[in-house]
Amino acid sequence: MSILNSYTRQMARQGIAILSVSILLALLVNHLRPDGLTLPGDWSDESRVALDSGETLVVSLGEAQELFEAKQAIFLDARPRSAYESGHIRGALSLPWETFDEHFESVMGALQEDMTLIAYCDGESCSLSHDLAKALVEMGFERSRVLINGWSAWRESGLPTSMGEVDGMMPAPGEHRGENRP
């Protein structure tokens, strides 16, 4: 029993020592190398908008603008309905992430799966659009993209916007718009 005890103690002591040396050495090497990682690390923007395969869904403002002008993409507003009504990218459809399951069919039912979709919300750290785009990819809309900080970026660039609740292509009347009327 005492041998087991002393062996266990030895394991624990050495284990902690090896772990400590590994941590110190890892941090030291990382500090010295020019391409070292930042600590604790930022997983909030592009890197977070990646599929499990590592492929990023991010679309740049420039690309989004080109697609908008060529009418080759459908914009989806992932923010709550009230935010959409007080201003949104012109032609965008409202598909709030918080009611995704409820409204998916009425908003997306008419769209083809091979359409380019651009989800957006507001703020660098807003993840509604990320979640929406990932969910859409899972539903088969493989060309779903995310415009990070979309609403602010779009508005600040002076690109076309609209206000109010009805805009562009909308779901069949009487579906869910009436109940959200102010």
Binding site: I3, Q10, Q14, V29, G41, S47, D52, G54
Partner: protein
């Protein structure tokens, strides 16, 4: 005879860890993405883990290859392989098909093998590691008795 098997397995496991840590130490950013894709660790711990894990594997490789501090080395190698096992199993259970990043930091180097293969391989390494720990303990006990 057991002695020879023990030594061969110890060096084998050491080489496995050495091989496993190499690419991860060279490409910590790519390895961080692999860890992120596991979707287990909270974001603030991802980079830290991406740095420390390969270094720990290197330390274990050195310990195993040269037979230094075996009680501690074998304890950690068992724990580490058990952690890998749990992570793989956890993601297999929730149907997350990920690249395991076991021996490479790249998350996109070809078609990933089935998660079950990763799990079986990890179990094999874990068995080796556990065998080595028990044998080493037995030896110590024998030497004292």
């Amino acid at each position: 005879m057991t002695r020879i098997i023990q030594k061969v397995l110890r060096i084998f496991l050491g080489l496995v860890f050495l091989y496993a840590c190499w690419d991860k130490i060279l490409h910590p950013d790519a390895f961080a993405l692999v860890i992120y894709n596991y979707q287990i660790l909270p974001a603030p711990l991802i980079h830290f883990t991406a740095l420390v894990l390969p270094m720990l594997e290197l330390m274990l490789a050195i310990g195993l290859l040269f037979g230094i501090w075996l009680p501690g080395v074998l304890l950690l190698s068992n724990l580490l392989l058990a952690v890998f096992f749990s992570a793989l199993l956890f993601n297999a259970a929730r149907g997350l098909d990920i690249h395991c990043g076991c021996f490479s930091a790249a998350s996109d180097d070809g078609v990933p093998a089935a998660t079950s293969q990763y799990i079986l391989r990890d179990v094999a390494f874990l068995a080796v590691s556990l065998f080595l720990l028990l044998q080493h303990y037995r030896e110590k006990r024998g030497a004292v008795a």
